[in-house]
Each structure stands twice: as structure tokens, then as C-alpha cells.
Symmetry: C2
Subunit: 72 residues, 2 copies
């Protein structure tokens, strides 16, 4: 198991969290997506996966949900 931490900007509510969890959850090997919401600021997502994830794929999933990743 591998854990990846992501910083995501622009989420404001539980719906936003669900969207991000859904998109990241569709990536192969992802087993859990926990999000610590900071409404209107930078939230933290912790992604658990069977193997290491491609950062570009993670970014793309976040963008697909309508948000963007920011540097740590």
C-alpha cells in the first residue's frame, strides 16, 4: 500500500469533496481517498493505493473534478 498526499485548491463543500473522491477513486489501484476540507482554501487529500500513482494522472483527476492541485 502507498499513500500519496495532494494539496487541492478551491473546494468549498462536501459536494466538492465527493467530486474529487469520485474522480481520484476511478484511477487504477486506488483503494481510498480521504479529504480534509478547508473550505475556500487549500484542502488536503490523502490517497491510498496498491502501487505508486502517476502524479500527472492524479492532477488530471483533480482537474476533471473542477479543481487544481497546488504545491505543498
Amino acid at each position: 500500500m502507498t499513500t500519496t498526499t495532494l494539496k487541492i485548491d478551491g473546494m468549498t463543500c462536501g459536494h466538492c469533496v465527493s467530486s474529487v473522491q469520485e474522480e481520484i477513486g476511478e484511477l487504477e489501484g486506488v483503494t481510498a481517498v480521504d479529504v480534509d476540507l478547508t473550505a475556500g482554501g487549500v484542502s488536503t487529500a490523502t490517497v491510498t493505493s496498491e502501487a505508486e500513482l502517476d502524479p500527472a494522472q492524479l492532477r488530471a483527476a483533480v482537474e476533471e473534478a473542477g479543481y487544481r492541485t497546488v504545491e505543498g
Copy 2:
């Protein structure tokens, strides 16, 4: 056609707007639900319907979406 204006507290983003539009849109006779979002504050929803709507049903729909109506 009748138009009803509602003040709704607690919506923060487009997902919130969609939830409210979906719940109100399920009420009988509703033909349109326009929402002017004030993120984190009091938003205004304008509901167009074939006949006058029951205020209690409107409130219940908003609550079903996870928000509440406020006076004024």
C-alpha cells in the same frame, strides 16, 4: 405562470446550486429554478411554476438538498 423567490442560506458552489435545483425541480408544476449564488451567504432562488407553490413544500425541498430557507 407564477414566480416564487426564496432566500437560501449556506450554499457555497455550483454543486450546491445543482442540488437545490434538482430538489425544487422535482416539485409538481415547477418549470424552472434559477439560482443567484452568494457563496457562503444568502443566495436567491427564483422558481417558476405552473401554479402557486406550497411554501412548506419549497422549504422541505431546500432542506432535502441540505440547506435552509431564511426570511427576507
